[in-house]
């Protein structure tokens, strides 16, 4: 166990790749510009393959087990999507090729724009943002620019509920606006009274609200219509964080509910893999009044059916190079096309049923602050157990690894102490959910009877429990390279 570093298996002179010899007359090199040493590894192809194959086996992954990471929607990533994204006719295209030569790819993007707009009830969609957080930045900049161009340049405050994901306040700040936090009510919804007070307080400085619905407690805000109305009446706009969109496909359209702008996490809801943290796609949908502000270019369709790149008239500008993460878009497109309307609704129905099933089975075993309500695709329990005073959420998480499960998201949302955020997704079977619940119940018992078992967990993982605090302090950010 324990795989050496790539630099530890290299040896001077080894090669995994051979390139052809120069077949053209050589030109003089600018000697002054040549670098000395290039300290990259030197390995053979077999060593490379073994190294990474072994490394891969040290990971827990969806393909090897249950991964109920709340807010991350770790659903099964269909294999056909991987094939699709690798087809030469889709993968080996230069982004700046003549439009004539990529009409198929542009048709795919255009269809995806339209389908996403329809699914969430928006007028227009950009596929350019590369992730959820990137979509948030995009959305907030759109809100800001829209208000500025209306002449309301004094508006600079965005209200963000305290249950929001950290990226919401972060992107707001990045766009130069100010964040004001709004508390949640006891029932998990936005605290209406507090919201009203904040709106009144900030008056015409209000840009709007960023709302995650279902929120990070896994609850659909029952007052969503009223919340939106309050913000709109105050001249503000409402941003929807679509990270939890997997709960409401075909169940509700955010655009119809009145959201002005929303990002989709294609890598969550539409099941594109996000190995090691990415890549993703944070497509953004907007209501008609914001359509001209989208970043781009986006794909427009001429009357004769020809697709062309088009920059929206009042665009905030491009948010990344080129058009968006096309390889991810191919996967999302494939996924949506293979589901259709009924299939999408079935996704959400089953995701929500699966979450409620786990919630029902763990109710009474673990504290669940809003366990009296129906949850959406996820819910938040707590790692605090009567009769097990030393045990915390992290202990439970680590012990779950011994049962070959990836732990849920822990310590988020911040408003729930010792949070354990469980999102099973629709692609898990009842047997898997049962095995997970059984393990959770067993662990609750162990917590009382043999707490050491939890404190020293995990016991079978490739490495033992890591001291993350120490690691963060004695930061070793890279290896000083060199081959023998």
């Amino acid at each position: 166990m324990g795989e050496p570093l790539i630099y530890e298996i290299c040896r001077a002179g080894r090669k995994a790749v051979h390139l052809p010899d120069v077949d053209v007359p050589e030109s003089p090199l600018p000697q002054d510009a040549l670098r000395g040493e290039l300290p990259l590894p030197e390995v053979s192809e077999i060593d490379l393959v073994r190294h990474y194959t072994r490394l891969s086996q040290l990971n827990h992954s969806i393909d090897t087990g249950f991964y109920p990471l709340g807010s991350c929607t770790m659903k099964y990533n269909p294999k056909v999507n991987e094939y699709a994204a690798r087809m030469a006719g889709l993968a080996n295209l230069h982004p700046l090729q003549d439009m004539d030569s990529i009409q198929g790819a542009m048709a795919l993007m255009h269809n995806l724009q339209e389908m996403l707009a329809e699914i969430a009830g928006f007028a227009a969609v950009t596929l350019q943002p590369a992730a959820g957080a990137h979509g948030e930045l995009t959305g907030v900049l759109i809100m800001r620019k829209y208000l500025y161009e209306k002449g309301e340049t004094q508006r600079d405050v965005i209200i963000v509920p305290d249950s929001a994901h950290g990226t919401n306040p972060a992107t707001t700040s990045m766009s130069g606006l100010k964040v004001v936090e709004c508390p949640s009510a006891a029932d998990g919804n936005v605290d209406l009274a507090a919201l009203k007070a904040l709106i009144a307080k900030h008056g015409d400085r209000l840009v709007g609200l960023m709302l995650t619905n279902p929120n990070t407690l896994g609850l659909f805000d029952e007052n969503v219509a009223e919340v939106l109305q309050l913000v709109h009446e105050a001249g503000g706009l409402v941003y929807g964080d679509g990270a939890n969109f997997n709960a409401i496909l075909g169940i509700a359209k955010p655009g119809a509910l009145g959201f002005d702008v929303m990002h989709y996490n294609l890598h969550k809801t539409f099941s594109t893999p996000h190995g090691g943290g990415g890549p993703g796609s944070g497509a953004v949908g907007v209501a008609a009044h914001l359509a001209e502000y989208l970043p781009g270019p986006i794909v427009a369709r001429d009357e004769d059916g020809y697709f062309r790149w088009e920059m929206p008239a009042k665009s905030i500008g491009r948010v990344k190079a080129f058009w968006g993460n096309f390889g991810i878009l191919v996967r999302a497109y494939t996924y949506i096309r293979m589901h259709g309307a009924a299939g999408l609704r079935a996704i959400s129905e089953n995701a929500v049923l699966n979450a409620n099933y786990i919630q029902a089975r763990l109710r009474g075993v673990y504290p669940i602050p809003h366990g009296d309500r129906t949850c959406m695709h996820e819910f938040v329990a707590q790692g605090k157990l009567d009769g097990a005073p030393t045990i915390n959420t992290m202990d439970i998480a680590k012990r779950l690894m011994d049962y070959e499960f990836h732990p849920p998201t822990v310590y988020f949302p911040l408003i729930v102490p010792e949070a354990i955020m469980i999102e099973p997704t629709e692609t898990e079977s009842k047997e898997t959910l049962d095995a997970f619940c059984d393990a959770m119940i067993q662990i609750a018992q162990e917590a009382r009877e043999t707490p050491e078992l939890l404190k020293t967990a995990p016991h079978n993982s490739p490495v033992k429990r890591l001291d993350e605090v120490r690691a963060a302090k004695e930061l070793q950010l890279c290896y000083a390279p060199g081959c023998s």
Partner: protein
């Protein structure tokens, strides 16, 4: 088609445990008038039908497996050894998320650590993060870091006009809500001194690209001189660079850059119509620590990782290694220069790159680039270079030609021949069609036997 394992029987049992009658009962919190809207989508396809549709869509594109490509401008057709895809297509890598639980994410964590080590080695810097969305956003994040290092008191951001125009666009987009003044974009092309002259106490940073967007390579001494002046003014020097060029040329860390960043796509990531790519970002630890308490971790959220594309880049760097990357750079250099020589020798074309250049060079053409490219594509099976006129009005009818190790000698010579034929009077045109690249390649096959 769906990927839902549970059957009606499963659902019935589960509903009983949950204590509701039907699945629809789970959605009472959704206001009734908005509940269960109709989705107007095309009918669902099975995998079999989907593959047919995808094939039809793919067939409507002309892919680079079948064309000679001389287009770069920020996305590069470099060789990707097949071992890269073979590793990144392992489910254990691509279906594992951000390594929140280190004990069962050692594969991803170690791969990322190695990526950082290799990026640091490549750029000559001291630390690297795991990655950004792409080169453009990496540059924008570098700018934001510089603003923070300047405690938001230094508000001038000096952008080289030969920084990739799309990167400049993203900087503008990202900073539109900040107290930032972007200057420099109207400076004479390639004039580092003009940029240095703008550095004063209000300057947060200078961002240059090396080799720049037009392919021009600045010598370490020139760059060091710039760095000295930038640092003298208390600002930071951010260098965007092509990682392949670093196989051969002095890296930013060796001539005073505070941040070296850029697009890592050329290292092991397919072109994929522009994404997903991966921005690399490396810096000097000391410099940053000296000038400010904040370090990069703060602006770069963990969620911004492109772990997967960074993995591809890591495998690429390890696979190419010391020798392979150098050779890729050498091939690119020599082929680009050979192409420039051939094109410059043509009657109606003039290569406008005078200083040293790498991979890309500017060609003044006798007809509009769009027209030229259309004919190159349709008559010769060649994807021509980038039309510089849109970004640089002074470079109307100038093409940015990109040549990499992927372009064979025959391709380069055919490009020159095609350019000549297209510029020539109409009567000579017909010849060209017979010698298009597709045919040339095919006739090679039988020589094997």
């Amino acid at each position: 088609m769906d990927y839902i394992p549970n059957t009606d029987a499963d659902r019935a049992e589960m509903l009983k445990v949950v204590g509701v009658e039907t699945v629809a009962d789970l959605f009472h919190d959704v206001p009734e008038q908005f509940r269960f809207p109709k989705l107007d989508l095309p009918p669902a396809l099975t995998e079999m039908e989907m593959l047919q549709e995808l094939q039809a869509l793919a067939d409507e594109n002309d892919d680079l497996n079948h064309l000679a490509c001389f287009l770069g401008a920020g996305a590069y057709n470099h060789f990707v050894p097949k071992v890269v895809d073979s590793i990144i297509s392992r489910g254990e890598f691509y279906t594992a998320y951000t390594p929140y639980q280190p004990e069962i994410s050692q594969g991803t964590l170690q791969a990322h650590f190695e990526y950082q080590s290799m990026i640091t080695a490549l750029t000559g810097m001291e630390v690297s993060n795991v990655s950004h969305y792409d080169g453009a956003t990496a540059v924008a994040e570098a700018v934001i870091m510089a603003l923070q290092v300047g405690r938001n008191k230094r508000c001038n951001v000096i952008l080289s006009p030969t920084l990739n125009p799309q990167y400049r666009d993203v900087v503008h987009t990202y900073t539109q809500g900040m107290c930032v003044k972007t200057i420099g974009e109207n400076a004479p092309l390639g004039d580092l001194n003009a940029l240095a002259d703008m550095c004063d106490k209000d300057a947060a940073c200078v961002i240059v690209q090396n080799p720049d967007f037009l392919g021009r390579l600045y010598l370490p001494a020139e760059m060091q001189a710039l760095a000295d002046r930038v640092h003298g003014a208390g600002a930071m020097l951010i260098v965007a660079c092509d990682p392949i060029s670093l196989g051969l040329f002095t890296p930013p860390g060796h001539y005073g850059a505070d941040v070296a960043c850029g697009e890592a796509q050329p290292m092991g990531n397919s072109l994929s119509l522009g994404g997903p790519y991966v921005g690399f970002f490396a810096m000097k630890m000391g410099e940053v620590r000296k000038s400010a308490g904040r370090i990069v971790g703060q602006t770069v959220d963990v969620d911004e990782e492109r772990g997967f594309n960074a993995l591809a880049a890591a495998i690429y760097m390890a696979a190419m290694g010391k020798h392979g990357l150098k050779k890729a750079a050498e091939l690119t250099y020599h082929k680009a220069h050979y192409a420039a020589k051939l094109v410059d020798a043509l009657d109606d074309y003039a290569v406008k790159s005078d200083g040293p250049f790498f991979k890309e060079f500017v060609v003044q053409c006798p007809l509009p680039i769009a027209e030229l490219n259309e004919r190159l594509l349709n008559e010769w099976g060649i994807v021509g270079g980038y039309d510089l006129g849109a970004d640089y009005p002074e470079l109307k009818d100038h093409m940015l030609v990109c040549v990499t190790e992927m372009n064979s000698k025959v391709e380069i010579e055919t490009l020159a021949e095609a350019l000549a034929a297209i510029a020539a009077p109409a009567s000579e045109d017909l010849e060209g069609q017979d010698e298009s690249l597709g045919e040339t390649e095919q006739s090679d096959i039988e020589e094997v036997a």
